[in-house]
Amino acid sequence: MNFRMLSYIDRPSPIHRLTGATKLICFILWSVIGMSTYDTRILFVMLIVGLLVFKLSQTKVREVSFVLTFILIFLLLNDIAIYVFAPQQGTLIYGTRHVLLDLPGRYALTWEQLFYQLNITLKYFVVIPFALLFVVTTQPSEFAASLNRIGVNYRIALAVSITLRYIPDIQRNYHEIAQAQQARGVDLSRKAKFRQRMRQAATIVIPLIFSSLERIEVISNAMELRRFGKKKKRTWYNAKPFAFRDFFAIGFSLALLLLSLWLAIQHGSRYYNPFQ
């Protein structure tokens, strides 16, 4: 089993120098804008800024290409599914009908449908650079500190920190168990039949889960002994102070959110309609 995951890449870039809290706030703000607006102009601004920020972070495309390939395939399948299920959704939303290509049944291709699907694809796509960069440019241990900074209870922030800390451990655990089971003669290759493979998966997954449950007891006892959670606040080794660039990044994202909200209120609808 190959666990392909995005992880932190250390580089001297301005994006890396932003505090984790800033990146988290910006990511949340961009997600909110991406989810709330349907305005093509705002979405295009987001796309361009997103690509610029990606460039600025000195992240290479091939370092994240496995994720990008997956997302592009997902977006393509999603678009096909939307067209199959609702080929006239665009007409419904924009209120007009300009037929581009006359296809049988209800499948006539309209400009409205193409425009609607462009927008929905953009909505999914514009958040990707920020989510990617958030993962790739934020040091895991700083992440917990930044969650606490934006007001999340530090106990919950610590839960996130434990998750990040134990993902590699559990991966290693998985491989160890898989190798031990193979040494005992369990066939993990793809040659085995479906039923057998389910049973084999169980021979790995069950020890993995049960050993992790034991680990929960050990760790919580250790934390109890170190008096975790007895005080209202705690400090973080990896917390960074805010600088000008942090305020700039948050200010810019907030301004964009306000702009998109203002446009929606002006129009009386969150859809930007070029057909009227």
Binding site: A86, I93, V127, R165, V205, L213
Partner: protein
Amino acid sequence: MKNWLSIRTIVAAGIGAAIFIILRYISIPVGFIPNTTVQLSYIFLALIAVIYGPVAGGLIGLIGHSLGDAFQYGSVWWSWVIVSTLVGIGFGLVSGRLKISEGDFNWKSIALFNIAQVITQAIGWFLIAPVLDIVIYGEPANKVFVQGFTAGILDIVTVGIFGTLLIWIYAQTRTRTGSLKKEA
């Protein structure tokens, strides 16, 4: 504070979310409907929520699904993250009525657990997920309902069979209260 967020709950949420994320990689795609798979991670979520309660279950759904999405796909589908959180809480709500940690998982408990999981997952996948997809992304209604129903039915069936089995296996490893007898 101490009652609803004990150290054990925090650690269970943290480690549980890590396992949840790893288990997402071991899933069987349905294929013809995008972003829909039989997920082993929900089977595990059922077990851990039943042991550690609704707070741990909800946190694992929230942390596990959002971080998992970010690491695996580089973006987060918030509508489904919310549903995972609710499903985790729902699984955990019956934990107080079951006595899994004391090794007791009889037919009554099995029925109770399955009623709870069917109800929460039905509300989550058949109702909340599609509605959020429509509200947030403006997706066509019939498409998201088909997606939600497929994901929901698959999850209800897998949790019903393998989740029950996993909890039963776990209960077998516990020492029953009153299992010791004084020798005559």
